[in-house]
C-alpha cells in the first residue's frame, strides 16, 4: 500500500512539474495510438459495415475470423511486423523498423479486427432497424453501408475507443518493432517495462497511473460526446 501512495505522489510531482521527458513519452504514446486508431477505423469500419450488410459466400467465416482475431496477442503481431520490416524482410528497403511508423503499423494491424468486429455489431443492429426503408428507397447494399456508417457515427465511437484502449495499453508489439529507443520510440508502456526491469517500481507505477488517467480522460471525452449527440440527434 505504501508503494502505491509513494507512486501517487511521484505521479503528481511528475505531472505538476511538467517533466519534459514524461511529456514527450506521453505525446508519442498518444500520437502512435491515436494514429493507429484512426487508420484502424478507416479500414475496419467500412469492413465491418460491409460484413454487416453484405451477402456473399464466406461471410460467416469472415465474421468468426474477425471475432477471433480480436484476441491477437500483441507480441505475435510485433514479431510478424518485425519480420516484415526488418532489412532481411520483404519491406526492409523502407527502413521503417525502429520508428514510430513501425509502431503505428503494428498497432493498426492489432486493432483492426476489434474495430471491424464491433462496428459490424453496431451496423448490424442499425441495419435491422433501417433495412426495409433503405431498400424501399432504392439504396444498394454499398450505399446502405455508407449511410449506416454515418448514421451510426456516435455508436461507432465505442468501437474506436475499444481499439484505442487496446493500442495504448499494449507493450508487446511496440517493444519489438520500436526497440524502445530513448527519445525516439519510447512510449508509456515500454517505459513502464523498462523502469520495472531497472527495479524502479515506484516510477513504473507512477507512469502506470498516468497512463490510466490518460485512458480515462479519452473515454470520458468520448462518453460526453455521445451524451451530447444522443440529446441532439436522437
Amino acid at each position: 500500500m505504501g508503494e502505491i501512495t509513494t507512486s501517487l505522489v511521484l505521479a503528481g510531482e511528475l505531472v505538476a512539474t511538467g517533466d519534459a521527458r514524461l511529456a514527450s513519452i506521453v505525446t508519442l504514446s498518444l500520437q502512435v495510438s491515436l494514429t493507429a486508431t484512426l487508420l484502424a477505423c478507416l479500414i475496419g469500419m467500412p469492413l465491418g459495415a460491409l460484413l454487416a450488410v453484405g451477402r456473399f459466400p464466406g461471410r460467416h467465416t469472415l465474421i468468426v475470423l474477425f471475432n477471433g482475431l480480436m484476441g491477437l496477442p500483441p507480441v505475435v503481431v510485433g514479431l510478424l511486423v518485425y519480420l516484415l520490416l526488418s532489412r532481411a524482410g520483404p519491406l526492409g528497403q523502407f527502413g521503417l523498423l525502429f520508428t514510430p511508423a513501425a509502431m503505428i503499423i503494428a498497432q493498426t494491424i492489432l486493432i483492426v479486427p476489434i474495430v471491424a468486429a464491433l462496428a459490424r455489431q453496431v451496423i448490424e443492429d442499425a441495419w435491422r432497424e433501417y433495412r426495409e426503408q433503405l431498400r424501399s428507397l432504392g439504396a444498394s447494399r454499398l450505399r446502405a453501408a455508407m449511410t449506416l456508417l454515418w448514421d451510426g457515427r456516435f455508436s461507432l465511437t465505442t468501437a474506436g475507443l475499444a481499439g484505442f484502449g487496446r493500442a495504448i495499453a499494449e507493450v508487446g508489439a511496440v517493444m519489438i518493432v520500436g526497440g524502445n529507443i530513448d527519445g525516439v520510440t519510447r512510449v508509456m508502456t515500454t517505459t513502464i517495462a523498462l523502469e520495472t526491469s531497472k527495479g524502479d517500481l515506484p516510477l513504473a507505477l507512477a507512469l502506470g497511473l498516468i497512463l490510466i488517467a490518460v485512458v480515462l480522460a479519452v473515454n470520458t471525452a468520448a462518453f460526453m460526446l455521445r451524451q451530447w449527440a444522443e440529446k441532439r440527434w436522437g
Binding site: Y130, E132, R135, S136, L137, A139, R143, R153, W233, G234
Partner: protein, 227 residues
C-alpha cells in the same frame, strides 16, 4: 385495367405457410388490405413491393411503375428532417439545388416547412410520419405502399396523415395500404382486399365490402371489429 398481377403467390417461412396461393389483379387507384391480426397483411404488402421474395408463384407488372413505401414506424436517419427527405433524392443522383427545392416542396405539402432543420428523431411521432410521407412523395412514385401508417399515432396526427394520403392519391399516385382502422379504409379506399390466414378470400369495391361482405370470414371480421 390491372397494373399489378399476382399469380399463385405464396410465401413459406420455417415450414409455416404465411401467404397461400394468392392470385389477383390490382386495378384500383386506392386499395386497402384488411384482415385479422396475423392474417398476412403486412407480408402481402411487402411481397408486392419486392421487399420479400415469394417461395411460390410470381407477380407481374404490366407496365413497370416506380414505387415507394411508408412503414408503421417512421424510419428517420440521425440528421435533419430536410436531410431525411433529401436522402431518397440523393440516392437517385439528383444534385443539390434541385434536391433541396424538391425536398422543401414536399415538406411544405405535408405542412412541415418550419421543422426542416430540426433533428428528425426529435420530432413527434406524427411529425416523423409526415416527414416519411414527404420523403416518399418527393420521389414522385407511381405506387405508394403504406403499412399501417397511422397505427402508432394519436387521433389528431392520424387525421393529418390521412389527409396527406388522400392528397397523394389525388395527385395520381396509386395507393395500397394495410390498416386496422376500418373507418380509415372506408374513407380512403376504392377497393378492399380481405385476407384471412394467408389467403385473399375477398376482393370487392369498398362500399360493397362493408355493406354486403360475401365471404364468411369477412362477415365475422366486420361483426367483431364494428362496435
Amino acid at each position: 385495367m390491372a397494373w399489378l398481377v399476382l399469380d399463385r403467390l405464396g410465401l413459406t417461412e420455417n415450414g409455416v405457410c404465411i401467404i397461400n396461393d394468392v392470385s389477383l389483379k390490382v386495378g384500383a387507384g386506392r386499395t386497402a388490405i384488411l384482415g385479422p391480426n396475423g392474417a398476412g397483411k403486412s407480408t402481402l404488402l411487402r411481397l408486392m413491393h419486392g421487399l420479400l421474395r415469394p417461395s411460390a408463384g410470381a407477380q407481374h407488372w404490366p407496365a413497370p411503375l416506380t414505387q415507394g413505401m411508408v412503414f408503421q414506424r417512421p424510419v428517420m436517419l440521425r440528421t435533419t428532417a430536410l436531410a431525411n427527405v433529401e436522402y431518397g433524392l440523393k440516392l437517385r443522383g439528383i444534385k443539390t439545388p434541385e434536391r433541396r427545392q424538391r425536398a422543401m416542396a414536399a415538406l411544405e405539402r405535408v405542412g412541415l416547412p418550419a421543422i426542416a432543420e430540426r433533428p428528425a428523431r426529435r420530432l413527434s411521432g406524427g411529425e416523423q410520419q409526415r416527414v416519411a410521407l414527404a420523403r416518399a412523395w418527393a420521389l414522385e412514385p407511381q405506387v405508394l405502399f403504406l403499412d399501417e401508417p397511422t397505427a402508432s399515432l394519436d387521433p389528431a396526427s392520424s387525421r393529418e396523415v390521412e389527409r396527406i394520403i388522400r392528397e397523394i392519391a389525388a395527385s395520381g399516385t396509386r395507393i395500397v395500404m394495410t390498416t386496422h382502422n376500418l373507418g380509415q379504409a372506408r374513407r380512403i379506399a376504392e377497393e378492399v382486399l380481405f385476407i384471412d390466414s394467408g389467403r385473399v378470400v375477398e376482393q370487392s369495391p369498398v362500399e360493397e365490402f362493408f355493406t354486403r361482405p360475401r365471404h364468411v370470414a369477412a362477415q365475422r371480421f366486420l361483426e367483431e371489429e364494428t362496435p
